[in-house]
Symmetry: C2
Subunit: 418 residues, 2 copies
């Protein structure tokens, strides 16, 4: 089927799913979880096919061992995925929330109501647990999606989405074509051009994938391409705290986007050598080279630099950082405030590991991704990032002429939201 | 000066203005108003130069009479502009608002705080009152701007911005380069490419200008290119109400984006001929032709169509509309609800003129423009649309390892916002 037809179906379905009840959506999400749980064998068989093909690619040096292991499913991973889906059913419905109720005049009331964005194009790499998670988030937020997964996981992704869609087919009142999947690179090219039907693109994968997508579409993209996070150790920082925070931020999961990449140390911090030694003894390779300041190693490698002042640290971060997550370690409260106010990043932290930048840790329940955008949604994005709002205005025949002419005046009185 | 240097200055200034107090911002806005008020003669002299040049262009048929009259300033218009600026000083500061305070654990508190977007590129056509209004909104929201006005108004725009900047220079603590102006088409080309320094583009002007900009940049654009608004007259609508609403929506200001362009009438509405006759007698030209369904006349011309059902009306609007503002006239409450839920537009109205789609009428005080985007901001956009947020996380040395390892658990308890 050609892409435009799929996209048009997604748009039509988006009008239908916008109107279904919270109960129906939660039932749909729970049915998805049950169906996956009941058909684990099928999923593992499909995954086995992908793994067999991937093994050959790995032998030919075409995919890495890490990519191969991310591809591998087992019963435990499937059960984690299922419990993640069930968790989505328990979250508050982000749709149809009243954000403002304002009486403009007698019998003229304005409501600002949250609603779905519409059609999302989701492009993700190998990990096969993403597809079910995105499906659950899309249904819960009343959006429709067109999914394009990594080629290596195609059998697994196809099987999981078939299982989900065949169970949703049985749910009365649930529209068709809410969750569709495409498989080719040409489909991606079409998707990025299809601003007529697609409202938002969400890439999940490597920095290079995200960068490519951001540079090749005019549709809004939600995501981050770089995670160049900093820790600034102020002159009066506690040595033990600085050590623990830097080690956790670098080693707890080095390839995560919220891992620290650059350590800035105040020139008057008296324990610089001791701090650096402790990092080396944790197996962290230290680099002192301006070329590394805009580079995301995603490994146990850490750039470091001595700075003369808080001001220099802030300017360095605003110049070389990626606006993801940056931390100050200090005992000086005004310095902490100044750092958090002036650093222009999605997350600005005081005395805490950069690894906390995560939707689950922030208490959002589920995470769509982490955004370094300056519009719409920034930082870890939960279900709220998949919503927008509309204004409903309910009147009794009012016309603007009367207000312009001075016959009537606006009242503009806000009412309680419930 | 080359554009990149201007843009870099704007970015640097954006870091500074992000930190200034509400008091300083309000003082800056009031100083702008006073300075303009005190130098009306200079502005009128500059405007006279523009008008003299525009007169020649009009004689040569290069600009319309309407464009010429939009360009013309007088003392009354300047006083209206000044009172609009003073009004901005009185609005709530949209920056540094707490949007969420959540205790993740003991001594680990997450704050979601509103903050400015950064650098805005504003491209606007002839009307010379826009520049002061945008300057006031930018300062109030702690953003910096690069302005590109219409060439016809260049003397007026230059004079107004010089007056504003020379008064702001005297305000202690107010950063330089918050408000900059460029004049050439090449600057616009550079601006649309400059995603490194510019965070948001706001076009204000004709549909063709906005369309051109949306198609030629990857920077987020806030605005609308089309205003194809609909009124659906349901079968049991009140005839008098339908007449008054359609007449106001079409004739109160025909070239406004929130004017109605298409009238849909239910086939069982018994007063169709009477309604159409009353519109004709108001000087509205009626057109019944599928080619007009996606066309914005911006004139006293109205397309109309008979539809078989509410469903057909909704589908027509979602197919041919521009997602701006659409209204149902009905006495049937469930139909009104269904219409407002299913029509996918920024404004969905019941029994009220489409001309109410306006920031001032919604009580936002000032308006940046009206957005038909599905992300960030939709509908009339006030100061809030010029903000985003950051997450501040304040801890006491916490590391993620302890939470992943089960040593500690998250509490996720929301606290009061003040």
């Amino acid at each position: 089927m050609d892409f435009i037809k799929i996209a048009k179906q997604a748009k039509e379905a988006s009008f239908k799913i916008a109107g279904i009840s919270t109960e129906t959506k939660n039932r749909a999400v729970l049915m998805m979880a049950n169906a996956i749980e009941g058909r684990v064998r099928e999923i593992l068989a499909a995954n086995h096919k992908d793994l067999t093909e991937a093994e050959k690619l790995m032998a030919a040096g075409k995919i890495t061992k890490a990519a191969f292991s991310r591809l591998k499913f087992d019963e435990d991973k499937i059960h984690d995925m299922v419990s993640g889906i069930r968790n989505v059913a328990g979250l508050d419905d982000p749709i149809n929330q009243r954000l403002l109720v304002r009486q403009l005049d007698t019998d003229l009331t304005l409501f600002k109501i949250s609603c779905p964005i519409g059609v999302m194009g989701i492009i993700f790499e190998a990990r096969p647990d993403v597809i079910a998670q995105i499906a659950a988030l899309a249904v819960k937020s009343s959006n429709t999606v067109i999914l394009k997964g990594g080629t290596e996981a195609k059998h697994t992704n196809k099987t999981i989405l078939n299982i989900i869609n065949s169970t949703l087919d049985k749910l009365e009142g649930f529209p068709k074509n809410v969750l569709q999947q495409v498989f080719s690179r040409d489909d991606v090219t079409e998707m990025l051009k299809c601003s007529r039907y697609i409202d938002l693109i969400i890439p999940r994968g490597s920095n290079s994938l995200v960068k490519f997508i951001k540079e090749n579409t005019r549709i809004p993209v939600l995501g981050h391409s770089d995670g160049i996070c900093h820790i600034f150790v102020d002159k009066n920082a506690d040595l033990t705290m600085a050590k623990e925070i830097v080690i956790d931020s670098k080693t707890q999961y080095p390839s995560a986007c919220n891992s620290v990449e650059t350590l800035l140390i105040h020139k008057d911090f008296p324990y610089k050598e001791e701090l650096l030694d402790s990092l080396s003894s944790e197996g962290i390779e230290l680099i002192n080279n301006p070329e590394s300041w805009s580079f995301e190693y995603s490994d146990k490698i850490l750039a470091y630099k001595t700075v003369k002042s808080l001001d220099e640290a802030i300017n360095h971060i605003n110049t070389y950082g990626s606006g993801h997550t940056d931390c100050i370690v200090t005992n000086d409260a005004p310095n902490a405030e100044e750092f958090m106010d002036r650093v222009d990043s999605a997350g600005v932290y005081t005395n805490v590991s950069t690894r906390f930048a995560d939707g689950y840790r922030y208490g959002f329940g589920a995470e769509v991704g982490i955004s370094t955008n300056k519009t719409h949604a920034r930082g870890p994005v939960g279900l709220e990032g998949l919503t927008i709002y509309k204004y409903k205005l309910v009147g009794a025949g009012q016309v603007v002429k009367d207000y312009v002419g001075g016959v009537k005046q606006f009242r503009h009185q806000d009412l309680a939201l419930d």
